[in-house]
Amino acid sequence: MSLRIRWRKLVNVVMLSLTGVCALLTVSVLFVILGYLLWYGSKSLDWAFFTRLPAPVGEAGGGMANAIVGSGKLLLLASLIGIPFGLLAGVYLAEFGGKTFSFLVRYTTDLLNGVPSIVTGIFAYTVIVIPMKHFSTLAGGLALGVMMIPIAVRTTEESLRAVPRVLREGALALGASKWKTVATVVMPAAMRGIVTGIMLTLARVAGETAPLLFTALGNRFWSPGWNQPIASLPVMIYEYALSAYDDWHRQAWAAGLVLLALVLITNVGARLVVSRGISFRRA
């Protein structure tokens, strides 16, 4: 075998194994993250974390019950904004849309998806916080809601498009009007994909911190109603991790574990739902 060929084979093996190393390195990052959070997080996770308010500054102990409820309230508000708009716009793109306008909507949606989350936060600040002159749950919910829209739109559209045309034709042939066809035949058939999309976008905004910093602000106590600053898990993690107290660092790890668990479980759940739906898509 000539030297040249041997050299080429060597390059072949070396470079191909390097790509494998790249893949391995990247994948291992997830396990490093999981490992550290499980290790430090589970050491500091206790019952008080879920049931108690934060302790006064300087005192050890306390929990993040208000932040957990706060995150829930913010997500509820975000869903009320993001899901209806996302769903309806997705239906428009898949079922009613023309050509030019649909392209415009689709493109804008993609752009909106790429807007840095902190900029969305500024938007909510200018629209709600400035006129009302104070930080509020409402402003935080709006920021997260706007962030939910793009993924909700695109997944709804794609799931609806994946429904076979035969189903639509069948319904129309039986005399159903178009909206009845969409609402009672196409939407139920695409439900799995739509729900997945909504879960994915919920998981995404659940971990968002930047847009909440100056809309929902944060709160060391309960936040009644919708019109006051409110605590949320990601913002608490941020504040606690940067604080000077060891006990707060401990709680930041615990909160990080809870948040990551929620996000990853939602993600895995959503993706499993979709992979089971695949048999249908091929029909």
Partner: protein, 327 residues
Amino acid sequence: MPNIPVTAGRARLSLRARQFLQKLRHGDEVAHLITLLAAASIIVVTVMLVYQLYINSILPRHKFGFEFFLGRTWDPVSGDFGALPFIYGTLVSSALALLVAVPLGVGAAIFLSELAPPRVSNYLTFVIELLAAVPSVIYGVLGIFILVPVLRSAVMPFLKHTLGFLPLFKGPIYGVSMLAGGLVLALMIVPYIISVSREVLLAVPVEQREAALGLGATKWESTWQVVVPFARVGIMASVFLALARALGETMAVTMVIGNDPKISASLFAPAYSIAAVIANEFTEATGDLYLQALIELGLVLFLVTIVINGLARLVIMATTQKGTSQA
């Protein structure tokens, strides 16, 4: 006589009206209208977003004009706002991130599309997509508690010892630094590069590979000299998408970059990024000029990411043909 055309017109009109009413009764027009409004509202929201950012940053634009982008001092007390240190920090940290993430991501994408068996590839892609879902504040926590100490105690002294003659690796070691910011960013954007590049590589026709192999190329040669060049536009697009992410990324960077508005050639020195200064100073901004200077920074960030994103999206649409939604 002249009545006839009128009645004919009326009859036609009433026929159309009747059809319209029928559709209305069936709900089609109503449904169309409602969904149309929802779709239009997305455009309205986006336009409003730009408008709000624009009208809320008038003060610094009038006061500083273009100087805003060239000023090197950021002094809220004396009302002197120059954005250069933040622009520098954002650009350098993102460039650093790309320097690490592009080889890593493209390498991994090649492995996933060309080498790994489909099942393995799918599992690994699943894991990588989960990685993309990890909230940025969690990257920040790991950055500040794990990565920064490692950099401070091991990596930075080593670099200083071996490559210390370069201005890049000079100066005191704090741990929190441009280097830490760039590395955390790199980890965060790798998943985006991989998942888009992999799709683009998989879309390369199999004949291309077969032809190269048939001519006697090794697997690597066919991949590197045929498949990757074929997919290079799409790979570029994935890099641009990742760049847009990196520029706008806030929390993780804020937590590890050191937050010091100085321009320094050393990667060991603390720096500051646009997103980080907005996150840190927005709630404390006293006075309209200060607040609006921050909003103008937000506007700059928005415009830059929008342009990069817009280009990348167009390229991806053109190269993979089917829509990409979740990237």
